[in-house]
């Protein structure tokens, strides 16, 4: 075991997989010599050479399109898109090609591409460095969508993603790269070293795709969330004094319905929270699923807390971000209803 932040954990997942499997290659802007703008691929080019850690032109569509071709040719590409906000030039390659290659070829072709991309706000990045577009990707049939909330899961899930023969879009909430952020910007930053999930094995291990985690047990209310909001939810629950069970979805698709069901059947109340905008957001799917699976156990309407339905502003970051106060209000609302 050693202490790792999320960047080191992601770096370690690359390292282990590149060591283990010579077909793993890394492709992206600034990922090679520089080691990535967030340093997730630091030292990898030095260790594995320029043919396996490849600096790419600034062309997200080109990066994802060529990764698909490499994958078809037997490689296992791990792509970095520098910010999720910049993934859209590659969207056509993901939606029309990567996700449907296996289907349209009757199972003859596939490309095991993993696309990693930092997402989310809280870094004063404004509308072009703060987005949480996961809901756009979970809507596409044929890809797996992941968003870890801590270093341990990040490493284990990334290894699973790289090993998966299905394509994976792997979102990394950049606000928690260096420490678990509980949604209070006025508190000094906390590092992962004081968090149990910052304890990360140096060796190979996996966290399975498609399995949610109960990060805190409780019996009064279930909070379903993922990414940065897992930490905000924990703080908000403490603020209200409610014994909340906090479920970290981890893999957005395929969704671990059983874990959600088990929890909501126990608590009878449910709050869904994410940083992404609300309308047609991933939370809508969560609410629909819980409603359908647990209707007769619910004691109150399911509540949703999400980013406002506007682009991510630069100036009002903490009024935009669904922080502790908003989540606490949501918790109270669910508790008071029914």
């Amino acid at each position: 075991m050693s202490q790792m932040n999320m960047i080191q954990a992601i770096n370690s997942a690359h390292d282990i997989m590149m060591e283990k499997d010579p077909s793993v290659v890394v492709l992206g802007q600034d990922v090679g010599y520089f080691g990535g703008v967030f340093r997730c691929t630091d030292q990898l080019q030095e260790k594995y050479g320029e043919h396996r850690v490849i600096d790419a032109p600034i062309a997200e569509g080109g990066i994802i399109g060529t990764a698909i071709g490499m994958g078809v040719n037997g490689l296992r590409p791990v792509v970095e898109i520098q910010f999720a906000d910049y993934i859209y030039p590659g969207f056509d390659q993901i939606v029309s090609e990567l996700s449907r290659l296996r289907y349209r070829s009757g199972g003859e072709f596939f490309s095991p591409v993993t696309i990693r991309t930092p997402c989310g706000g809280g870094i004063r990045g404004g509308q072009t460095h703060s987005q949480s577009p996961e809901g756009i990707f979970t809507h596409i049939s044929g890809i797996i969508t992941v968003m870890p909330s801590n270093p341990y899961d990040a490493k284990g899930l990334l290894i699973s993603a790289i090993e998966s023969d299905d394509p994976v879009v792997f979102f990394e909430p950049k606000r928690i790269y260096n420490g678990p952020f509980d949604g209070d910007p006025d508190k000094p930053g906390v590092s992962w070293s004081s968090h149990p999930m910052g304890e990360v094995p140096q060796d190979y291990y996996t966290v399975p795709l498609g399995k949610a985690a109960v990060v805190e047990e409780g019996d009064e209310l279930t909070i379903i969330c993922y990414g940065t909001i897992v930490h905000v939810a924990q703080a908000a629950a403490r603020l209200t004094g409610i014994r909340a069970e906090i479920v970290d979805v981890r893999t957005l698709f395929p969704l671990d319905i059983d874990t959600l069901k088990k929890s909501v059947e126990k608590t009878g109340r449910c709050l869904v929270a994410h940083e992404a905008t609300r309308f047609c957001g991933y939370g809508a799917e969560l609410v629909a699923t819980v409603q359908q699976e647990c209707f007769w156990h619910l004691e109150a309407p399911i509540e949703r807390v999400a980013g406002w339905d506007t682009p991510y502003p630069h100036a009002f970051e903490w009024k935009y971000f669904p922080g502790q106060k908003r989540l606490a209000a949501g918790i109270r609302k669910v508790m008071e209803a029914g």
Partner: protein, 414 residues
């Protein structure tokens, strides 16, 4: 994978700790490149994409057919605005370091591009700048205070707090709103120019990207549409050698200049000394006349050097020699124009020192005024309700509800 891999991986000439080496840059002497008539067919002027148009020679004299023979007043104006742009950048870089603004991007070393081109364009020409074209705003008369307030996201912010620093706009001066996404505005500029041609107007559109952004598909869409419709547009590639950590070879600059990107489409390209204000002015004038007279678009590559970091979030010490800029063979654009003016007897070191002092005061005064509109940490603050405006023309009901929810939680009155 038992064979030796043979992919070509581009390598910059020098990495940290190594001697800077610009021998890869193909340079022409000043004054040697022919200046064709501006209606010459693209096919006959392909040499312009491979040579380097230069006017200022090593003796600081203007020479050759591209010499725009600018009068003293214009030259002095160009110098003043380049100095002002650099002073503005310097100040904003420092206030970012002090934590007063969240982010900044300098145009250090590239000032001649914005000022030289800005001077060669007409006020009715529509500009679609990149994030290193602050000189265009300053030259067209956007107040420094307004630029600073944008960077501060304060109550004077032209973007109402919506954008990161440096994403300016100036609709009154025909400058489009900047996007942080790369090359997205290139096809939009072409569309604007097509609109101008559809309406039978003489205004042209001009846009800028860096060498790195030429790899984006939007760059190629723009060239195709511009060439197909012979749109009245000037498309610029500011080749400052570096796109964050990747040198211009990663955008495909190793074997042919960026100026040659349009040749396959029949679009003329001109490669110009991006630190030579006179040459930039001259090629831009040539391209504006070509466009305005209905002879179509021009792609201009400015060969220059990114004197600073990509942004305040970047650290170039990690990937390029620290003294690389000092070794750049095309020098410093301000110094080169200054030396030319000295040679002409219009300028002196004393006058320059006085100009720099005076400029510093102008920038200081602007900053004092800007922070009176608030900073990230000091009031007055922007009204957070603004967050919900302009998503649509009218605020939809669900956003009104979300706005009220926000106000209730933060205890503000609706």
């Amino acid at each position: 994978m038992t064979q030796k891999p043979y992919l070509h991986i581009p390598h910059p000439a020098a990495r940290p700790g190594e001697e800077p080496d610009f021998s890869y840059l193909e340079l022409s002497d000043a004054g040697v490149v022919d200046r064709p008539p501006n209606d010459e067919s693209a096919r006959n002027i392909e040499y312009l994409a491979h040579e380097l148009v230069r006017v200022l020679d090593d003796n600081h004299e203007a020479t050759g057919p591209w010499d725009p023979t600018l009068d003293k007043e214009i030259l002095l104006k160009a110098l003043r605005y380049m100095v002002l742009t650099r002073a503005y950048d310097d100040r904003m870089q420092r206030v970012q370091r002090q934590g007063k603004i969240s982010f900044y991007m300098q145009s250090l070393g590239e000032e001649a591009v914005s000022i030289g081109q800005g001077l060669a364009l007409e006020p009715g020409d529509m500009l679609f700048p990149s994030y290193r074209n602050q000189g265009l705003f300053i030259l067209r008369g956007t107040e420094l205070v307004d630029l600073m307030c944008q960077c501060l996201s304060n109550t004077g912010d032209m973007c109402k707090g919506r954008q990161m620093p440096v994403m300016y706009q100036d609709p009154a001066r025909n400058i489009f709103t900047l996007s942080g996404n790369l090359a997205t505005q290139y096809p939009q500029a072409v569309g604007w120019a097509m609109g101008s041609a559809i309406k039978g107007e003489k205004h042209i559109a001009v846009s800028w990207v860096g060498d790195g952004s030429t790899a984006e598909a939007d760059f190629h869409y723009a060239l195709t549409f511009a060439a197909v419709y012979q749109a009245p547009v000037i498309l610029n590639v500011v080749n400052n050698q570096w796109a964050i950590s990747t040198f211009q070879g990663f955008a495909g600059g190793e074997r042919r200049p960026f100026a040659a990107r349009g040749l396959g489409l029949g679009m003329p390209g001109i490669r110009v000394d991006g630190n030579d204000l006179l040459a930039i002015y001259a090629v831009t004038r040539w391209a504006t006349e070509r466009a305005r007279n209905g002879h179509g678009p021009t792609l201009i590559e400015h060969v220059t050097y990114r004197g600073g970091a990509h942004s305040t979030s970047d650290d170039p010490v990690r990937y390029r020699p620290q003294d690389e800029w000092a070794a750049f063979p095309l020098g410093d654009p301000i110094d080169r124009l200054l030396q030319h003016l000295v040679k002409l007897g219009h300028w002196s070191d004393e006058k320059h020192t006085a100009l720099e002092e005076e400029t510093k005061i102008v920038v200081d005064d602007a900053w004092k005024e800007a922070i009176s509109f608030g900073t990230m940490t000091e009031p007055p603050f922007l009204n957070a309700q603004l967050m919900f405006e302009d998503v649509y023309k009218e605020i939809p009901d669900h956003l009104k509800k979300q706005r009220d929810e926000m106000l209730k939680l933060s205890g503000e009155k609706s």
